[in-house]
Symmetry: C2
């Protein structure tokens, strides 16, 4: 049995809590948040607190607070030599107070409180400064996820950076699709099955193999038509840059 204490009550903390509750070999001993109100809905299920001095003893402390607060929260944990991990893709593991045994448990997914996610499908990237702590953190992670990977700090940062491309930037392309369709009285909804199939395709094929369309074919006639249709300079710049990018990748 691994005992854990969660610190923070945001998107990640909430999903972690639910996943730990389902796992057989994990007990959530306590849940801390600076604002106790966020934990009100859970106070009959788990010991909740907003007071660092009341933190209990546990095997692992998981800090799932805003990136900027990770360092400060870690120094307020009133113990030494405890395994303390944060959940961020970009915060340095050395930003955790050095009185602790330190590590990272980075779940590679986009979380909002309202969406249901099956944590077993979410890859967890783990890292510990001291090899001795690796086994404990791995046991914790494998009890909630089917995909647990050891990554070093550089790989984690690179994964976080790549996540910005495939998540935030991709979502912005959806947004532009929305702007373009609505401005001409066409329905964005008609694009939704295409959006899903585009994501599904690369679950099996590499993005290189999955590519199609006018840029890859170097279909100048269609590209010219599109450039003429585009009314916003900002949409045009993105069209040009990504068309160029595809042509670079596919050797045009």
């Amino acid at each position: 049995m691994i005992s854990v204490i969660i610190l923070g009550a945001g998107n990640v903390a909430t999903h972690l809590y639910k996943a730990f509750k389902k796992a057989e070999n994990i007990s959530v001993k306590q849940w801390y948040n600076r604002n106790i109100k966020s934990l009100n809905g859970y106070k009959n299920k788990v010991d909740v607190t907003d007071d660092f001095s009341k933190l209990k003893d546990a095997d692992i402390y998981i800090i799932a607070v805003s990136d900027d607060a990770v360092s400060n929260v870690s120094s307020k944990i009133p113990f030494e030599n405890k395994l303390v991990v944060h959940t961020s893709g970009s915060v340095n593991v050395h930003d955790l107070d050095k009185k602790h045994k330190r590590g990272v448990l980075y779940p590679l997914q986009t979380f909002s409180k309202s969406t249901n996610l099956n944590f077993l499908d979410i890859p967890i990237c783990i890292e510990t400064i001291d090899k001795k702590d690796y086994h404990t953190l791995k046991s914790l992670a494998t009890s909630i996820s089917n995909t647990v990977k050891k990554v070093n700090s550089n790989q984690r940062q690179v994964l976080h950076l790549a996540a910005v491309y495939v998540n935030n930037f991709t979502n912005q392309l959806y947004r532009i699709g929305h702007e373009i369709t609505e401005s001409e009285g066409a329905e964005f909804d008609l694009l939704k099955p295409l959006i899903q199939e585009t994501a599904r395709k690369v679950q099996e094929l590499s993005p290189y193999m999955a590519q199609t369309g006018p840029a890859k074919r170097n279909d100048k006639k269609t590209i010219k038509k599109h450039l003429k249709l585009l009314k916003s300079e900002h949409h045009l710049n993105i069209y040009n840059l990504l068309t160029e990018s595809i042509q670079k990748t596919h050797g045009r």
Copy 2:
């Protein structure tokens, strides 16, 4: 019962054939391709030909050939006053030979022969020059899809353009995610659940509401870290342009 003849044996033609075969009120009377070999696997199931002069009589002729060949193929159909439609998002409906009654049946999805798709989930955009032909084309489309929309030429072109953003450009962002991870010995596979969740999220939320991340939060520290990590100028340009785009959308 609506009788159809398919012209072309590529991705779209093959998926259409399979969808028509399943539909109760449609009979595929003949399948034409300039190269008969592509149709060999079907010759026991349907009448196949590579000879325009042997084309039979039918209610609708569906031209699913490369965009550049649509016009030429339409003029070779040895009939007049027949309903002839193409399947392209960008070809003008007037490019079809004017001896025909003309229209468009544009399925808004990315097709490859090897993937299984449920045609019922694929939106079909339809258009006819003459109102009188609309009903027939709509009957055909609704017998294979649950989402059939009347669109005009401009809307169809705009949908096709938006499809380039959410399909080709998005896939290129996946490709860059692949390049960034592999170049640092991290695994692209770890991003796959995130890719699917990003696409799933906008099935319910607008892309505007679904946006998260450092660009939206204007998290300068993380953005600076990312810019430092990026080694390729080309990746950098895309990072900058899409970060700017997100900030424009979210009023930063």
